[in-house]
Amino acid sequence: MIILSIILIITGVFFFFTATFGLLRFPDFYSRLQATGKGDTLGSLLMLAGLALYNLSSGISLASILVSVKLLLIAVFIFIANPTATHALTRAGQDAGVEPWTKEEKSK
């Protein structure tokens, strides 16, 4: 069980890494949101699930089950909230008139 949680946590760190790298590397606002909206959601989901599993492995009692359920509820909340925040930001960008980057402009 501990090994499974370690695998989950390391995968989560990898997706956080891609989210950060995409944030630094992509050319415009919308593509950056592509990277962060996905990478952060899955990264935090995997890491919190891994932590909840690790918490159960030290001994199952009412208190530890409660803590694991709370960690999973935080993960579910992030899972709902992160796409919503991404959507709100893209809409703000569209209304403020941020121009999307396209390949044709670059080759011109």
Binding site: F14, F15, T18, F21, G22, R25, F26, D28, Y30, S31, L33, Q34, A35, G37, K38, G39, T41, L42, A63, L66, V69, K70, L73, I80, P83, T84, T86, H87, T90, R91, Q94, P100, W101, T102, K103
Partner: protein, 160 residues
């Protein structure tokens, strides 16, 4: 009826987050959940009315989540490939398409699913019908327009 359901949902959340089951804390929970229920009993449900079909919708939505998680893992691998590729083969474009979904809940679920699946994010929804979508490459746009996800969502919320 929707008073009772709202109260039960709030009280279950109270029990999980407080974590103390002695009579003092539970009675505090009953009082505060009761006050919140009186103030906002019509916020949870569409049109402010509880219907029994929501329970089956909820169960079907829970069954849809594993497929969604599989799609999210695919999309993350896609983004990781794009980010780590030295030439960064992206080709962003914006497309608009019209959906046949009608209920508010199914449009919300559809928009969030689009954001989480490979290479697409929802930018805007006009008039509850026209989705404006930012695609990172031409191929993912064609995948989305095939309409598999829309059919799945329609089946969950009983629209056809």
């Amino acid at each position: 009826m929707n008073y009772i359901v709202t109260f039960l949902i709030l009280f279950a959340n109270w029990l999980i987050w407080s974590g103390m089951f002695d009579s003092f804390h539970v009675s505090l929970g009953v009082i505060s959940c009761g006050v919140v229920t009186l103030m906002s009993h019509d916020l949870f449900f569409e049109n402010g009315k509880f219907q029994f079909s929501y329970i089956t919708e909820f169960i079907r939505f829970a069954l849809y989540i594993p497929w969604l998680i599989y799609q999210i893992i695919l999309s993350n691998i896609h983004v990781a490939y794009l980010v780590l590729h030295p030439k960064m083969p992206i080709e962003p474009s914006i497309i608009t398409f019209e959906t046949t979904l009608k209920k508010e809940m199914s449009i919300v679920a559809f928009a969030n699913s689009i954001t989480l699946t490979p290479g697409t994010i929802t930018m805007d929804v006009h008039d509850g019908k026209y989705f404006v979508i930012h695609c990172i490459s031409r191929k993912v746009a064609d995948d989305l327009l095939s309409g598999e996800m829309e059919r799945k969502i329609a089946r969950i919320f009983g629209e056809n």
